[in-house]
């Protein structure tokens, strides 16, 4: 059979034409499935729901089910929206509307999606070989969720071609490579690793929400993992677990946050035989570059390249890094969304860089987005919650650096005058706790301020906006 050019293969076809399909596996904390079974069987419970040409919300509870469903849906569905396990169900309605979803895929427990009024396909973390789903050839659209200022996620449109563009495609599999990532594969950083495994026909060991570091590392050891990726925060967690030497990776990759020299040196000391690299990527801009010299920052030679055929062109404008490549997303879905790129095709990453000698270093963000261990937080969404408190006049939420998760959310709060007066006599700690409890009730934990400070004024600019620091 003639094989299609690899850049137009679907996920299922990558596995089908692998030539070593019987060897590779995808393993989660809740099971393990071989490539051959994945290609020949199905994870869907029955055939009553058709996915052909459908726009599918993929809201499965665990990553193994997501992986199995993705292989089947790519090429078959018109569009697939990947929802991480912690997607707030209250956002499903806007996601469904903006992405014009007409079918939902979920796991056994589907109470969150039952009320959405759409056909529901149920998927498992196991494969039924008696009930095969054909492999499709459609160019499926992939949609990833990215944080937005209002708390509702932005829908970032990719396709398989843009997603696998950064991946070196080889004609034969490298048997010694077994991939793992601490990321969730439903986010860009984790998805990149999942796709590297599929395109390279390598086994992949998935992470599992809430699993203890030691148990996770033991699973990675059991499967002989050699290539491991995670954020600097993930890696600090590994180094502080006391079980870092359970694994012996030959390739250690960091992305999703700024990798400082401290974490690069600590990983080099723990895994002296491993190649250690840090990549720059974002859901919108795709993978920009990969730094392999063990130093923080990146070489200035990567900027302002003049090769029009280069995969990635980068420039620095107004201090922020701009990227144009085939790897970038095409647009945001939904009405009244801003353009994702400039007219000449560059995505403004919003990451500020500073040239020192022959190297650029990341110094923060132009916008005030806070990166907590690889998860983006927009201050405005937290301020909206704080400002609803009856004692609060306004608030300023900002990032505060720390060596564990890169940054944390903290809040400066200006109280209403009456509350200020009565607060002089009352316990500030109780009021702070009350405000934080309201945040905890509606925000994920990483968005809840780690510290609250009551201030006597908040600076406002000439345009009437809060003055935000660029940390």
């Amino acid at each position: 059979m003639k094989i299609q050019p690899s850049n137009s293969l679907t996920l299922g076809e990558f596995l089908k034409h692998s030539g070593r399909a019987a060897d590779g596996i995808i393993s989660g904390a809740n099971g393990c499935v071989g490539f051959k079974e994945i290609v020949e069987g199905t994870c869907f419970q029955d055939n009553s729901v058709s996915f052909c040409g459908r726009s599918v919300l993929l809201a499965t509870p665990d990553q193994l089910t997501t992986a199995l469903a993705l292989v089947k849906l790519d090429g078959l569905a018109n569009r697939v929206v990947l929802c991480p396990h912690d997607t707030d169900p209250q956002h499903f309605k806007s996601i469904i509307s903006d992405a014009q979803i007409d079918t939902v895929v979920c796991g056994e427990n589907f109470s969150d999606v039952a009320s959405l009024g759409l056909p529901i396909g149920r998927a498992h973390s196991t494969v039924d070989s008696q009930n095969p789903v054909p492999i499709g050839r459609r160019r499926t659209e992939w949609v990833l969720l990215s944080s937005g200022t209002t708390g509702s996620p932005k829908l970032v449109l990719h396709d398989l071609a843009s997603l696998i563009s950064p991946i070196m495609q080889t004609t034969k599999a490298v048997n010694s490579v077994v991939w793992a990532t601490f990321y969730d594969i439903r986010r860009y950083g984790g998805l990149q690793i999942f796709l590297r495994a599929i395109v390279g026909r390598c086994s992949m060991i998935l992470s599992h929400a809430g699993e203890a570091v030691g148990a996770h590392l033991a699973r990675l050891k059991q499967h002989g993992v050699t290539y491991v990726s995670g954020t600097p925060s993930h890696w600090r967690r590994v180094l502080m677990s006391g079980a870092a030497n359970t694994i012996s990776p030959v390739y250690v990759r960091l992305s999703g946050e700024i990798a400082d020299q401290n974490i690069l040196d600590a990983l080099h000391a723990t895994y002296p035989g491993a190649a250690i690299s840090h990549a720059y990527a974002s859901t919108e801009a795709g993978v920009g570059f990969n730094v392999i010299d063990g130093k923080e920052g990146f070489p200035a030679t990567l900027i302002d390249g003049h090769d029009p055929n280069a995969d990635v062109l980068m420039r620095v404008e107004d201090g922020s890094l701009r990227i144009r490549s085939k790897r970038t997303a095409s647009r945001y879905l939904g009405n009244d969304q801003p353009s994702l790129m400039s007219p000449d095709g560059f995505v403004d990453t919003g990451d500020l860089v500073d040239l020192r000698g022959d190297r650029y270093y990341f110094i923060g963000r132009r916008e005030s987005v806070i990166n907590v261990g690889g998860l983006k937080v927009y201050p405005e969404e937290v301020e909206m919650v704080i400002n609803k408190h009856p004692a609060v006049q306004k608030s300023l939420v900002r990032g505060r650096r720390n060596p564990i998760t890169g940054a944390l959310v903290v809040a400066d709060i200006l109280l209403k005058q009456r509350a200020q007066l009565s607060n002089l006599n009352n316990n500030q700690e109780l009021l702070a706790e009350d405000i934080l409890n309201r945040c905890r009730a509606v925000l994920p934990k990483h968005k809840v301020p780690a510290k609250v400070r009551f201030v006597s004024q908040l600076d406002v600019s000439a345009t009437g906006k809060l003055v935000r620091d660029h940390e």
Binding site: G214, G373, P403, K451
Partner: protein
């Protein structure tokens, strides 16, 4: 309060705020077996920076593994 008790009291406060069950806080308990996750440790480090004026983790050559390592790191930093 000593550095040790400041650290232990803060661990307990943070565990309560973030609804984490914590183990008995012996020196030989691994930090990530204590019940706190990365986010909780980040909060702990920020609070200790404010309360003790110390931030030794920013330049540490080896990351602490146990609660004893962690306390010692702060105690040594205070002596410098």
């Amino acid at each position: 309060m000593t550095i040790r008790s400041t650290i232990l009291v803060n661990i307990q406060k943070i565990a309560a705020a973030y609804e984490r069950d914590i183990a008995s806080l012996n020196d030989d308990v691994a930090l990530f077996d204590s019940g706190l996750d990365s986010l909780c440790f980040a909060v702990l480090v920020v609070r200790l920076e404010d309360e003790l004026g110390l931030h030794p983790l920013s330049s540490v050559a080896r990351f602490p593994v146990t609660i004893g390592d962690f306390i010692k790191l702060y105690e040594n930093s205070a002596k410098q």
